[in-house]
Structure formats: C-alpha cells, structure tokens
Amino acid sequence: MIKFFLMVNKQGQTRLSRYYEHVEINKRAMLEAEVIKSCLSRSKDECSFVEYKDFKLVYRQYAALFIVVGIDQTENEIAVYELIHNFVEVLDKYFSRVSELDVSFSIMFNLDRVHIILDEMLLNGCIVETNQNRILAPLFVLDKVAEG
C-alpha cells in the first residue's frame, strides 16, 4: 500500500503532499525534509529505491522536481516507479506543456487540480485508474462547469 505521495523541489519546499496513512502535522515537515535529504544525496547512478525507517521510498527526478512515493513491503517497487511516470504523463497532458520552468508553476498554481488528478489515480493508497483519458475526464467536466 502506498503510504504517501510527495512532490518536493530541490530546495526542499513541498509542492504537493498526500498522506494515505495518518501522520501528525508537526511530524510531516520533518519527514519531508529527511526524505528529500536522502533522495538528494544520491547520485544519478544509484538506484531509485531507498530504505527509510520501516518503509521504502521510490523516487524519480524530473528536472528540479522530485516525486517521492513511500510504500510498504507488499508493493512491487518497479511498478510504483512506472506509476510515477504515468502520473507525470497525465499532468503533462492536462497542463499541455510541463517543461523545465512551467512544472512548478503549473502545479503550484493549480494545486487543487493536481489533487483531483491524484484522487482519480489513487484511492486510499491503491491504484484506481491508469488510463490517462479516463483519469482526466472528470476534470474536463469540472472545467466546463467552472467556466459556465
């Protein structure tokens, strides 16, 4: 099961955080800082799986943004690695151009949208939907309603 889903930039600022298992709010900042520290200290050649306390971190770097997912022992690490990439592709599709600079901006200013996308993909730590069109369908509806 997926314990948490984080998007953190290189300076350690959290861009998105979603916890599927309850963590106290004051512990969250510390957790995020430690997690990003262990991910940043690894070089490009090292593998993307880090053992942290009693769960594993799967992380992927996209330019200045790190996506880190915490999983427990029952998950297939490589599948989660692919899931992260799927998520980024969905974001790309929705925001139409997720490039070096725009990544943080688009995500930051549309945080609620990103949460909705994440909710369509993951529910309570399990994968719901991986097909990109089906994930984005409710969002397009929402956008239409918001405009009208």
Binding site: C47, F49, Y81, E82, H115, V128, V145
Partner: protein, 786 residues
C-alpha cells in the same frame, strides 16, 4: 469588505517572502481575513477561502478552523463547492475529529446523487477517511454501487469496499454476492480494483480464500488475453498491455496458489508463458517479470519453473539498471532459504555486487552473501567479505563483522584459519565490533588449545603498533594475561616465534592502562592481565607489584577496587595467588546468556540449544593431553594445590562466562563405582544451583597394580529418560601404584528426577594385552539425583 484574494494571488504573494518570518506574517494576515470571512457566512467566496486554507495547511500551518467550513461546502449544491469541500475533508479531517460524523448524512445523499461525478466524490472521500461508524452506516450504499453497470462508479466502489472491510471486518460477507461477476467486466479500471478487493478479502479470511480459489481459471484467462491481445491503444504502456493490471493479477494468483497444489498447477502454464514472453527491454516488462518471479517462488510450482525464476533473477543481476539489480538481490534473499543450490550458482555475480557504489545494493549483497556461505565456499567467500569489510562504509562494518564471526564459527575449515579470520576482523574493523563479540571470541580462543601460542603472538604483534581499537585490545590483553608465559618462551609452532621479554610485555600492557584512548573496561582487562602475569612471569614480579599498587588510588572506582584486591592478594594471601590466577578451563558455550543470535540455516537444519546436545560418542581423542579440564588438580604449569574439590574457579577476570561458579558442593557422598583388577573408579558429585536437573559427576580412575594402564577409555550409557554428556578426560594413561589418576567429567541431565543408573564400559591396555570390561553402577546416593 473587499473580495478575498484568489488562491493564485496568495501563492504569488507568499513566494515573494524572503524569510520564514515574512512568510509567517503573510500567512497569519491571510488567516485572519479568512476567519472573518467565515464568520460572515459568506457563501460565494467560501470555496476560494477553503482552497487557500488547504494550501497553507500543506505548508505546515494549522488549519483546523476550516473543518466546519468544509462541511458547509459539502452540503452545498454547486459541484465546485462540493469538490473543494470533499478535498478539504480528506486533507483536514480524519476520524479523530468528532466533526467528521456530521458528514455521514451528506455523503449518504451524495452517494445517491444523479450526477456520477458527485457520487464518485462521495465514494472517494468515504474510501479515504471513513471511520468505522460511517462505514457501518453506509456499507449498504456502497454495496449497491458495486453492482451498478457504470464502470466509473464501480471501480471507486470496489476500493471503497476495501476500506470498509479494513475498518469493519464483519461486513466482509455483505460484499460477497456483489463480487460474483466483477471479473466479467471489460473495463480495466474495474478489473483492477476488483482484483484489489478480492485480494483484500482473501488475505483477511481463509474461508474467502478457499471460496475464491475457483476463480483461478478465470484470472488465468484474463491474464492470457492481456498478453496475447497485441497492441491496444487504451492500455498500452511502453508496448505492454496494462502492466499494472498484470502485476495485480499475478499478486492475487500468488495468494490463491500458496499452499494449494491444484491452483498452483492451473497457474503453471500461464506463469511460464509470462516469464518467457515478456519484453525485458522496457522497465514495465521487468516489473511484470519481478512479480512473476515472486509468485513462482511462493506457490507450489514445479521445479522447472523455479529454476526458470531463479535464472530470470540471475539475468536481472547482470542488468545495467540499478533498480533491477536491487530488486533481484531482494528477491534472491527471500528465496535463498528454499532454493539454496539454485542461488549458489549466481554467487560470483552477487559477490561482485559487493563492490557496487550504491549503498542499497551493497547492503543487499552483503546480506545475501552471508546467507550463501557454506562449508564448501567458506574460504573464498570469506576473502571477499574481508575485503568488503576493509572498504565499506562505517554503517555496514558492525553488521559485517558480526556476520563474519557467525559464519566463521559455523564453517571454519581449521582452527588456525578461524583465528586468522578473527584477527583480520579485529585489526581492520576493530572499533566497530559489537561488545558481545569479545566474550565469544575469548571463549573460542580458550577452546582451541593448540593455537594458544600462535594466537597470543599474533595478538601481541597487532597491538604493538596500535592500541586504539578497544575490542582488539580487550581480547589481546586477556590472552596476554592468560598465555603470557607461552609468549615469552617463544614456543610458537605455526609461525616464526618472536623474541619478547617479560618487560616488553609489561610495557605494552602498561601503555594500554595509561593511554587516553582506552575505555574503562579495557583498562580493567589490562590490569587483570598484568596481575595474572605475576604467576606466569618469573623476573618481573616486583614490577607488577608496583603497577598494581599505583592503581590502588586510581580515580576510576572499578580499577581502584581491582588494584586494592590484587594488592591484598600480594600481601596477605600470597599462598593462594597461584591457585587463583591459574589457567582458565575450557568454557562451555551458553546460548541463553547475552543477546539471542539468529541461526542461519544455509540449506541445513540445525538446532542450537545446549540442553538437547546429543551425547557425544564418548571417545575423545585420547592423545589430546587436555590438562585444562582438570578441575580438581592444578595444571602442569602452576604448582599443584592439595586436592580440594571445593575450589572456586578464578573470578579475577569477572567478565567471562563461568558456569562452574555456582556449583553446589555440599556433602553429597562419593561412591566407588568400579573396583576390579586393580582399577578403581570413584564418582564424586556436584549439583548445579541454577539447573536442578543437572548432576555433574567427576570420575577418578586409579591403578593399584605395578604396571601402567594405557589407552584408557571410559564410556557410559544411561537409560532413555536421561541425557549424558562426557567431557574430555585428563589423559589416557593411569600410572601404576596409585601415583596418579585420570579424571573425567560427566554431565547428566535428569529432568524427570528418576533414580540414576549407569552402565559403564572400560577399555585399556595393561601388561601388553587389551582389556575390556562392562559394569553397572547402581549405588548412586539419593542426593545425586533427587
């Protein structure tokens, strides 16, 4: 009041803050504005305010005053409001707050809403943070939605059901009928979540598991379609059709096939097919292969399939991608217990991984290497592992050292090799060795009698250069104290003996005592060693006396106490000194003391408990002059004390395991067990205070004839309810005219407190002919076994 700012504005403003304090100020100002807006019950902008609140919550600021507002948003009719409201509920609320119960009614209404997206929202929220009360109330609605034909809702309902089952396990039965045709769906989202639901139900209840086993053929069929279907644009990820679903199905198959032959057999074909047909060039393919391997190893698959799986892992090990190698090492670690031989084939690749730069991979490779060490490869593996110990990061050194000690103890091909390996570990990673390793090492060294001279010489050379590594210095000091006489007499056979004088030895021990780097414990070891040398060295006793008296006023209380006691030994009890500081006898390994060590089986089964050791054949090599076991007399080196069976063994060291210290030596009469043809055998008894069913019998064999008896072997047998352990005899020659005796220790375990009986067999050579006799001993005094 001006309209509250939009979320974007807020974010932009916060980004301009240059310090943490500035940011905090901005946030507080905005919080105040939001609070007053909430107080005014402003419907239009509530949505916007809550969105901002969520953002601030993410940054780590408290946002609990927005919880009620979320509820109000949920109750609103506008979709945008509901959206933010539910999101806020998921982020800000959990079952610890009482407020969440108020949501129940809203969710219930929304679950029956006309718009599927609203229903979806409700399902999502319930599935994320519903408490057990909410789940109980709403389970019926969820179950209804599980049966709907709308795939968008069905998939969410399935995961919501998973959450309900986790919270309220009794409700699992309720969802059973709905699962009947879940797998008939074409929609992959529904399939995926249905498989998750089935997995959850199977994991929770063995009855469900048995019930769902009949679904195996259907799952196999779905998997087959996925593989064979060719390109499908909907589900394609890098050329493979819906890998996430494949992985999920494989996992469910794993759970269904575990411990069940029929299901496992039904899966064999499809597993083989997936294993051979999946593209390995892309990462997704590897994910599927990984899951397949895990499944094959877990179910009762045929051996050909298992070999296939291990070969896949072997190929993973050679892959350039670190992630794949990591995953391979992890899986191999899981399977090494069951398929030991197959994994051994990949040993060289695994050992190469020890040299990898990546920390995660190194750790896995180290654990796996220890699991692979066995009697055949121990020399080669140890070389690699020692090299690894030299070069690895400090966080590994402690684990590696402990692992090496364990492996060396189990598989050492020779005592000398064992001692050499220990020396190597102590000198390279000396400061990382765990504290409990020191007594184990000392015990090991004591027990390898013939290596004493060699060991002490090497240890001496090791600390000559550098005495900063505490465990090394501790072991070395202890050995020098015990075997210092061997050191100065240059008796080493194994290697070139070095010329050491007594003064040089004392120099090094004194430097350890003085050095700032020595820990208090180490100083204790050194002082005791110096004291022991007073009986083993001849010319430097005065120097020792001087050193000991200096420490009588040491600030360290432990040192001071020891020094004062040793001083007293010199002054008032000098006649007891040799006896007290005698050589230590061979120690028994007590597995109950100290931290429990996990015994790795490496393909063999072992039980390592002291009590159940089967009685040895009783034939100790008679030529091993094992004078260290002579408990009642002195050894050759130090003067013999008049036999006193109640001698307290030397407790000057204090830090060592000492089983004999608590023997009850009061008044059990000794018996003559055998007396024939000039051979007399006496039994003396001791009972242990700690273990009342153990009786320690010491036999003494004497010879009153005029010729020696040689090659004497004593064997004993006891009834089935007892257990017997014979230790090595003191020698195999009984000199004539009662001028000496052979002693041997027998331990009898008598848990049922039955009357002790023993049958003994004696073989020896006398007057040029071989003699043999059998006898029964029935005259055991009651105190020896009651």
């Amino acid at each position: 009041m001006p309209a509250p700012i939009r979320l974007r504005e807020l974010i932009r403003t916060i980004r301009t803050a240059r310090t943490q304090a500035e940011e905090r100020e901005m946030i507080q100002k905005e919080c105040a504005a939001i609070r007053s807006s909430f107080r005014e019950e402003d419907n239009t902008y509530r949505c916007r305010n809550v969105a901002k609140l969520l953002y601030m919550h993410m940054l780590g600021y408290p946002a609990h005053f927005g919880q009620l507002e979320c509820l109000k948003l949920i109750a609103s009719q506008k979709f945008t409001d509901k959206r933010i409201g539910y999101l806020g509920a998921m982020l800000l609320l959990d079952e610890r707050q009482d407020v969440h119960l108020l949501m129940t009614n809203c969710i219930k209404n929304d679950l029956n809403h006309s718009t599927q997206y609203v229903q979806g929202l409700a399902l999502c929220t319930l599935g994320c943070m519903g408490s057990s009360e909410m789940c109980r109330d709403l389970a019926g609605e969820v179950e209804k939605l599980l049966k709907t034909s709308n795939s968008y809702l069905r998939k969410k309902a399935a995961l919501c059901a998973v959450h309900v089952i986790r919270k309220v396990p009794e409700l699992m039965e309720m969802f059973l009928p709905a699962t009947k045709n879940l797998l008939n769906e074409k929609n992959h989202g529904v399939l995926h979540t249905s498989v998750v639901l089935l997995t959850e139900m199977c994991e929770r209840s063995p009855d469900m598991l048995a019930h769902f086993r009949k679904l195996v053929p259907q799952l196999v069929r779905i998997l087959k379609n996925l593989i064979m279907s060719g390109y499908s644009p909907e589900h394609d990820v890098s050329g493979i059709s819906d890998p996430f679903l494949q992985v999920r199905i494989l996992r469910l198959l794993r759970i269904l096939g575990r411990n069940d032959d029929d299901s496992s057999e039904a899966m064999n074909d499809i597993l083989a097919q997936v294993a051979t047909n999946t593209e390995t060039s892309k990462n997704v393919g590897n994910a599927i292969l990984y899951e397949t391997v895990l499944t094959i190893m877990d179910i009762k698959s045929e051996s050909g399939l298992r070999v296939l799986a291990i070969n896949i892992l072997g190929r993973f090990l050679l892959n350039n991608d670190k992630n794949i190698r990591y995953v391979a090492l992890t899986s191999l670690l899981k399977t090494v217990q069951t398929d030991h031989n197959a994994v051994q084939r990949h040993r060289s690749t695994i050992v190469d991984c020890l040299k990898d730069l990546d920390v995660s991979i190194k750790r896995r490779a180290m654990e796996l290497s220890f699991a692979l060490v066995n009697g055949n490869n121990v020399r080669g593996m140890m070389k690699e592992l020692l090299y690894f110990l030299d070069s690895c990061e400090p966080e590994f050194k402690a684990d590696c050292a402990s692992g090496i000690f364990l492996a060396a103890e189990k598989y050492a091909p020779s005592k000398r090799w064992h001692i050499d390996t220990i020396m190597r570990v102590l000198t390279t990673a000396g400061s990382y060795v765990r504290d409990d390793a020191v007594p184990n090492l000392i015990q090991l060294i004591t027990n390898s009698v013939e290596m004493h001279a060699y060991t002490v010489q090497r240890l001496y050379k090791a600390i000559l250069g550098d005495y900063s590594q505490q465990p090394l210095v501790q072991v070395a000091s202890w050995c020098i104290g015990e075997y210092g006489d061997l050191l100065v007499s240059g008796q080493c056979e194994e290697e070139e003996p070095i010329q050491v004088t007594e003064d040089e030895v004392l120099d090094i021990l004194e430097s350890v005592l003085i050095s700032n780097m020595s820990a208090s414990v180490t100083r204790g070891y050194a002082l005791t060693a110096i004291m022991k040398l007073s009986t083993r060295f001849t010319c430097t006793v005065n120097r020792i006396k001087k050193v000991v008296s200096i420490y009588g006023s040491s600030i360290d209380v432990e040192l001071q106490q020891r020094a004062v006691e040793y001083n007293a030994l010199f002054k008032k009890y000098d006649h007891m000194r040799p006896a007290l500081l005698e050589r230590m006898p061979v120690m028994e390994k007590v597995t109950t003391n100290g931290p429990a060590e996990i015994v790795q089986t490496n393909g063999e089964t072992e039980t390592a408990v002291l009590e159940t050791k089967p009685p040895p054949s009783g034939l100790q090599p008679a030529n091993q002059a094992n004078d260290l076991l002579d408990l009642l007399g002195g050894s050759d080196i130090t003067p013999v004390i008049p036999t006193a069976p109640t001698r307290e063994p030397a407790s000057a060291g204090g830090e060592l395991l000492d089983l004999l210290g608590d023997l009850n030596l009061t008044g059990i009469p000794s018996i003559t067990a055998y007396n024939k043809n000039g051979l007399k055998i006496d039994f003396t008894f001791e009972r242990s205070n700690t273990n009342p069913s153990v009786t320690v019998i010491t036999i003494q064999a004497s010879n009153s004839t005029e010729l020696d008896m040689t090659d004497f072997v004593f064997q004993a047998a006891v009834p089935k309810t007892f257990q017997l352990q014979l230790l090595s005899p003191s020698s195999s020659v009984i000199p004539a005219f009662n001028s000496g005796t052979i002693t041997q220790v027998i331990k009898v375990l008598n848990p049922q407190k039955q009357q002790l009986r023993m049958r003994i067999k004696l073989t020896y050579n006398h007057k040029g002919s071989a003699m043999q006799d059998l006898a029964e001993v029935n005259n055991f005094p009651p105190q020896s076994w009651q």
